[in-house]
Symmetry: C2
């Protein structure tokens, strides 16, 4: 059970469509070239969390691709339409929302845009508690590649995710749950679909640390929301660079993402690291406080 809203020029708040009926042409450049951008959000109690941050990032990704997408208000209206439709067909308050905008059939023509809503996958809920075994995988890029080569689209959330999916499949084949990308110059970057987050204590002060944004990673909306609430709650905030060695000897390490929220890491390349259910609970509570206002 899911819901679909198409953003079409004639429907300011989007047009509800049947997600089980084909809606896309085989010539859409989003399909044949992976030429599009996307966002994934969590909706709780019928409300999309971190909506503004996701719409900002969608716009920023679209800019990097020279993609002329509808304005944020149009997406917001379509999300409202989708949430109402999802509640009607599904009757559940928690949803995973995907926003997609592709270049459309013609590079010069209108983009193809939609909002899709589905129940939160059971695997996402489960990984919030169980803990993840992760592998470190080489991303191939140097941590300074992004600034000199904007065409590499580092830091943009494009629908060209084949490498991210291949990295996850590779990790699964090795018996792991997820992966953390490392740059060719040895910096910890991000997960294929998540942001890395470390909690540690330095000189008696609790710190939250995440990799340097300018190393070519995606700005994490979940990490951003957590940082914004954690600082007034007494946490010191830090930004890498981080080496693989720094994943060890912490109070806890998580992969943060919009739907899975904070998934604790319990081993890196087969080597166990500290897991703190109490910290996971504390930080998740901070995060949900952040996302609720």
């Amino acid at each position: 059970m899911s819901a679909l809203v198409l953003l079409t020029p004639d429907a300011p708040a989007g047009r509800v469509a049947d997600p089980d009926v084909p809606q896309l042409l085989v010539t859409d450049l989003g399909v044949v070239r992976g030429d599009g951008v996307f966002e994934t959000l969590l909706a709780v109690d019928g409300r999309a969390l971190q909506l503004e941050a996701h719409l900002d990032r969608l716009a920023s990704s679209a800019d990097a691709l020279d993609l002329d997408l509808p304005a944020g208000e149009r997406w917001q209206a379509a999300i409202e339409t989708g949430l109402a439709e999802f509640a009607r067909v599904h009757g559940e308050a928690e949803a995973m929302i995907r926003l997609v905008g592709t270049r459309g059939v013609d590079a010069a023509g209108p983009p193809t845009c939609w909002v899709y809503l589905q129940p939160v996958p059971a695997s996402s809920r489960e990984q919030r508690h169980r803990g993840l075994d992760v592998l470190l995988l080489d991303r191939g890029y140097s941590s300074d590649a992004a600034e000199a080569a904007p065409w590499l689209l580092l830091g943009s959330k494009t629908t060209s995710y084949a490498v991210n999916m291949a990295a996850l499949r590779y990790a699964h084949r090795q018996g792991a749950d997820d992966a953390i990308f490392v740059s060719s110059d040895g910096r910890v970057l991000e997960g294929p679909t998540s942001t890395l987050l470390i909690a540690r204590t330095r000189d008696g002060v609790r710190e939250l640390v995440t990799p340097l944004l300018r190393s070519g990673i995606l700005a994490g909306t979940t990490q951003g929301a957590l940082f914004a609430t954690a600082e007034p709650a007494g946490w010191r905030l830090g930004y890498g660079p981080l080496t693989p060695e720094e994943l060890h000897g912490n109070d806890g390490v998580w992969l943060a993402s919009s739907v899975r929220l904070l998934a604790p890491i319990r081993s890196v390349d087969g080597c166990e690291i500290a897991v703190s259910p109490e910290l996971t609970e504390e930080l998740t509570e901070l995060l949900l406080t952040a996302t609720r206002h």
Copy 2:
């Protein structure tokens, strides 16, 4: 005017469908994750050129993605169906054929596969003669990244082509026609949609040279076909590594691809290089000889 054939389990030779009617679900992983593979072929006189090489490469790309695609014979039958349909609706003998296979809606379920045929774009025909101004653009990867990190899918033709498209847009904005990727360790790699080819004379012997395949580039079907015919015709064949400096001082340099064939390069980063219409003609003739049997 175009033609579309869907590869469905119930139709051994494919099912003709209307390319102007939506055929794809918004949940197809090819759409939302760029999780698919493709090939582009040229058909002349109603026959697909280098068919076997393209089907081999499609299978090899699918292997790299753990994608279980229909066997080559099924693709071949669908292409035959498509060529007959294209001739019927379009009445022209020359066509550009695109084969696409995506992971489908469910990672565990059947892939989504189709054959799409359209007229050869006028820009492709024109670039065979006019000559290209190209920019060298950093691909970000080291030339030895492919072997150590198979999840980077280097050398596979996936539908995650956003970086290739962004590189072309970047080149166009700078007033250039195309780009040549260079590895982070300074090796010439390939074009975003083509293979690099150099003709030069060494010690009185005419040589055709292309970059090292194991530097993480796509095995060029057009280059492969040309090499196969050029050697018995007296050309010595060479494989890189090539540095950017080696793009200068040659008899000719081309971007080779299935539909555009051999497009001569006339400048690299604004610096003119030798163009030989006679060599373009000679090599194109060799290539067409190769592709006709």
